[in-house]
Symmetry: C2
Subunit: 305 residues, 2 copies
């Protein structure tokens, strides 16, 4: 069976929106990515770390989706990474109310032997040195390395981030972060600059406004899947990356055409994610729903000239 | 030959952006709409009014595009409608620095005999009573009536606006205005509310984020055409409406499928408009460029599953 290696946080989140408060719930980039890749024909493993407070039911949940959780280190005396955030009416903006790194502060990722030759590697948002450490443990060149990151690392660990960016195939990043990383105002010139940093492809996520793909002197633009009511956008970007990676894991070739389809998959997966608080949608999602929504998305976006 | 009747302002604009100032230039919704419809296989006429200051060269320009300018009334003792605006870094927002209605204040539109049976009617942004007056002069039910409007009329002439909305086939409106008109926060519920007001279809324009089409229990969403550098967004919405109307004028049937294609045409036309100040792009646009960009847009947005 094919293998997808994911490194990312497995965490507890507390989310406030105008619609209500979530209480302490399962979260983390690694969690969201894996809940998405789990729907594809590839064995996913999460490399991460949690504390003794991390509930067994949450590990069981991930395992029940066929995700290999054995590379999630449990530090029984430590506490799980915790993030509390608040969204306003504009879903694209949020305030971080609290970040407690806890066990993440000294995370030293260990890639299991059997995943050192994973076909797809997804480096979820984490310290660039952790992402680099994962890449350094890989023994066989993956078919595709996908990196997600955020402005925090641009502000605090830019040189380490640039080093890992230079080693990946696809950088997935949001619009504001693309502008910050490239120091350019237009997304086109931003993408051009970022491609010079090493990745073959750049995917720019624009939240409710869709996503863009740049690379191979080609361009693709996609709207978002129309969601009637957004309840909680937490994890949408990670879920997008997971759906994107999941489709690539099933694709015979990895090229501009398959990356375009991967964006459709990522878009559809993310649309489920935002419809309920936290991981609720992703925990209950069925393959049929995904296929149905992909078909709808195609219908919503196709036209003839 | 088929006929497209346009009512809208023919005006002078003065535009300030971070890239510079335009000085006094040709503008107006009617102008932009007609410069777009002129590229399609239908005879366009503009019903409008200008003052004695309106330069002959600008009338000649419109006429040179095959636009029938005879229904543009010239009030030699009056002054042409003038608008001055300033854009900030967010192109979707602008400040009006000056609006001088001038001859527009007492505009009483007269539809020429030969256009009373126009197949396509485009009611550009103007006082709803002027739009209604045009509709009242129509003798043969048009294949399609398209209405564009803006928040100013919602604030100041809502009941008159609702009356004209009830009589049109397609309402073209931007996202903020759709929310204001419907008093709904989500664009989906906004569109549902607006459809109840009478139009068969609603097109919601989202500027650089594309457009959405609602109606017939169907939905379509499109990104914008990627423009490397926006120089001046003035007239983009009108040009979109013009391209949209132009394609419908050439379509055998007017249904959801042809409206989807019309959105692609509108999107591409608007993308030219924003690349230069004022009407500069639209004055020099060739049919081959439009077809080439339509092909590129299709390539930029198509994917297989």
């Amino acid at each position: 069976m094919k293998k997808t290696l994911i490194v990312g946080t497995v965490a507890y989140d507390e989310i406030e929106t105008s619609k209500g408060s979530s209480g302490k719930i399962l979260g983390g980039a690694g969690t969201y990515i894996a809940l998405a890749t789990a729907h594809f024909n590839s064995k996913s493993a999460i490399v991460s770390v949690v504390g003794g407070d991390f509930e067994e039911k949450h590990l069981n949940l991930l395992e029940s989706k066929g995700i290999d959780i054995s590379p999630i280190e449990i530090i029984s005396k430590g506490k799980t990474f915790y993030w509390k955030g608040k969204y306003h009416n504009d879903w694209n903006k949020r305030d971080t109310l609290s970040t407690q790194l806890n066990v993440l502060a000294e995370f030293s990722p260990v890639v299991p032997e059997e995943f050192k030759n994973a076909e797809i590697v997804v480096l979820g948002n984490l310290h660039p040195l952790v992402q680099t450490s994962v890449l350094n443990q890989i023994t066989t060149k993956p078919r595709c390395i996908i990196l997600d990151t955020m402005n925090f690392w641009m502000d605090n660990s830019l040189s380490e981030l640039l080093e890992v960016i230079a080693r990946v195939d696809v950088l997935v990043i949001n619009d504001e972060e693309a502008k910050q990383l490239s120091e350019k105002e237009s997304l086109f010139t931003a993408a051009e600059e970022i491609l010079k940093m090493g990745p073959k492809y750049v995917v720019i996520k624009k939240g409710e406004h869709g996503a863009m793909l740049f690379g191979d002197s080609q361009f693709f633009t996609s709207p978002a899947f129309p969601v009637k009511e957004v309840i909680d956008p937490t994890g949408a970007g990670d879920t997008f990356a997971g759906g994107f990676a999941g489709h690539l894991s099933e694709s015979k070739e990895i090229n501009f055409e398959t990356l375009k389809s991967a964006i459709a998959y990522g878009t559809v997966m993310a649309s489920f994610c935002v419809e309920k608080f936290g991981t609720t949608s992703m925990e209950n999602l069925k393959k049929e729903q995904i296929l149905e929504r992909l078909k709808a998305f195609k219908k919503y976006t196709a036209y003839s000239l």
